[in-house]
């Protein structure tokens, strides 16, 4: 089946979506985090009446405004792509995505047209408290807006709360509660927004450090470092905590992704947590995929078992278990899943034939299967596997995910240390004396963006080949359009987004150089 698909079309469509999402995500996390930092700073202004806090708030609000304005609507392009490049997918999940995305659209519209306007135009025109409330509502609204997008994204990784309608070929929402409280959605939302808080904190500390290096705006810089240092430290610890719960959820709902993150091929009751390692081709093959071995590894014995299962000696399945099956551990082989998926697809095919013949009795019987728990739990849940010929085709790129995950986690802990040092030096009033720290903080800004993007690379590349976990592979989701058309728009986007990025960086750098005296 897979051979029938135009892989260049699939790959260009995939590449285009990745390009758009990566660029879009350059703007989003700063908005999520800086909005809260602004709210804290303005709260300090309103509570203390200290004009310095107003000056600080207005300076960071300028940078927030530039980032917000350049980034606004860049996510809409992703929705264009759904309709053009991913029409099978859009149709298949339309009813599930519709509700969260509609809520997000309404929230974003009211937020952007009302409270952002009060934030920027309302100084000295509305009361201090109303202005402060608007700033808080922008922060809360922006983060709630992210919630709905992440709920939709989480559904793709753990599709719940729906019933498949064979007549319309669409999944229909049966429980909004299940979709919103999907464990993947809860973990993803908390982990993603707190990582945005960390990025914004690094940004504020980095820019403030630049002022201290240049011996300018020292009071603004020191106060900003204090607020961002404390906010970043709390957020960094939250990122670590939510990352842990998130990994445990992934181990349950996307075990192949989890095993790939750890490059774990052989399951173990004493699985160690690999801190860092180099992956090498072992020469062994799992189907047609390379089996990698870990060289020069630093590993904490047994810790992965404890972190994943919550108990010492808990069994963590490896890729070999997950692909070949392990009856002793109740793990179904992918071959078996392919067979079950094919049965589910045959039922759907029979329904389609009955529909074409106008055989209402057969249609009713076959349609009832899609509401039958035994059929949905044991067959339809493996529907997407029917599109694969070989079990190894469901293994994602292990090295990319393994390294991306480690760099992301390593940077996350580095930022926590950075925040601790920032607060410590602030308390001791030695920030200016430790110029190495100021330079380190400044050069940490791109690292925060790198960590943030790597998080999405782990998430999205880790779930390949699925666009909807177990239900729809990426190659089935694409529209029947020419690869050339997708290539053209790929380069159009590359140019457009690069221009936007250059515009943002140049306007922002100019405003930073001017400082708060605008």
């Amino acid at each position: 089946m897979i051979e029938n698909f135009d892989l260049s079309l699939v790959n260009w469509s995939r590449g285009q979506f990745a390009l758009t999402a990566i660029y879009h995500w350059l703007f989003v996390p700063l908005t999520l985090g800086l909005s809260f930092i602004l709210a804290f700073m303005e709260t300090l202004y309103v509570r203390t009446g200290d004009e310095m806090w107003k000056k600080i708030t207005k300076f960071w609000m300028t940078l927030f405004g530039i980032n917000f304005a350049i980034g606004v609507a860049t996510g809409i392009i992703l929705e264009f792509e759904f309709g053009t490049n991913w029409s099978n997918y859009s149709w298949f999940v339309g009813d599930i995505f519709g509700a969260p995305l509609a809520v997000e659209g309404i929230l974003a519209f009211f937020l952007e047209s009302t409270f952002v306007a009060v934030m920027f135009f309302g100084w000295n025109k509305v009361s201090k408290k109303f202005h402060l409330a608007s700033t808080w509502l922008v922060a809360i609204g922006a983060n709630l807006s992210a919630l709905w997008i992440l709920v939709a994204n989480a559904w793709m990784e753990n599709p719940v709360g729906m019933v498949f309608n064979p007549d319309t070929a669409r999944n229909e929402m049966s429980s909004f509660r299940d979709v919103v409280l999907n464990p993947v959605a809860v973990d993803k939302f908390l982990h993603t927004v707190t990582s945005g808080f960390v990025l914004a904190s690094v940004f504020v500390i980095g820019i403030s450090s630049w002022f201290l290096i240049r011996k300018r705006e020292e009071l603004l810089a020191r106060k900003s470092i204090l607020v961002a240092g404390i906010f970043g430290l709390v957020s960094g610890l939250m990122v670590a905590l939510t990352g842990d719960t998130s990994a445990r959820t992934i181990a349950k709902v996307q075990p192949v992704k989890f095993a790939a993150m750890e490059a774990l091929y052989d399951g173990s009751t004493d699985a160690g947590l690999t801190v860092i390692s180099a992956l090498r081709d072992s020469g062994e093959r799992l189907g047609e995929k390379k089996v990698h071995e870990k060289k020069l590894k630093i590993e904490i014995p047994g810790l992965l078992s404890i972190m994943t299962t919550g108990q010492q000696g808990g069994y963590v399945p490896g890729l070999k278990d997950l692909i070949n099956g392990n009856p002793d551990k109740g793990i179904l082989s992918v071959s078996e899943m392919i067979e079950r998926g094919r049965y589910a697809r045959q039922v759907l095919t029979d329904y389609k034939v009955a529909k074409e013949l106008g055989d209402n009795d057969s249609m009713a019987t076959l349609a009832a299967k899609f509401e039958d728990k035994d059929f949905t739990d044991n067959y339809f849940r493996y529907f997407g596997y029917s599109y694969f010929e070989h079990p190894w085709q469901v293994i994602p790129s292990v090295p990319v995910i393994f390294y991306a995950f480690r760099v992301m986690v390593g940077l996350g802990f580095f930022f926590i240390v950075l925040f601790i040092i920032a607060v410590w030096f602030h308390r001791r009033e030695t920030l200016e004396k430790n110029r190495w720290f100021l330079w380190l903080a400044l050069f940490s800004i791109p690292l925060a963006y790198l960590a943030s993007e790597l998080g999405w690379i782990v998430t999205e590349m880790g779930r390949q080949p699925w666009i909807i976990q177990n239900l729809m592979p990426v190659h089935v989701a694409v529209s029947n359009i020419s690869a050339g058309a997708v290539q053209t728009t790929f380069w159009l986007f590359a140019v457009l987004f690069t221009a936007l990025l250059i515009a943002e960086v140049s306007i922002m750098v100019r405003q930073i150089r001017i400082g708060p005296k605008h």
């Binding site: 264009f80 920027f120 135009f121 669409r170 759907l348 529209s479 029947n480 058309a485 728009t489 936007l500």
Partner: protein, 75 residues
């Protein structure tokens, strides 16, 4: 002028004054926003990103049947 009209007038003045007294960077980002929205909605959306199913099929029944064909692999 009744209360509703006064409120509308105040809201209008709020936005009008805000845009009129906008800073250098504010004007620049608004220019960028307008160019961006023009490119996205009047060029990309119309010429490069038609909705595949809406363009090729006239109603939801046809769209559903087409996707069903795609899913069952008998196309």
């Amino acid at each position: 002028m009744d209360t509703a009209a006064k409120t509308m007038h105040r809201i209008f003045r709020f936005y009008y004054d805000g845009f009129r007294t906008m800073s250098w960077w504010g004007k620049r980002v608004w220019i960028i926003i307008l160019i961006k929205l023009f490119i996205m909605f009047l060029i990309l959306r119309i010429f490069f990103f038609p909705d595949f199913l809406k363009v090729n099929f006239s109603d939801d029944r046809e769209r559903g049947d087409y996707v069903l064909e795609q899913l069952t692999g008998n196309n």
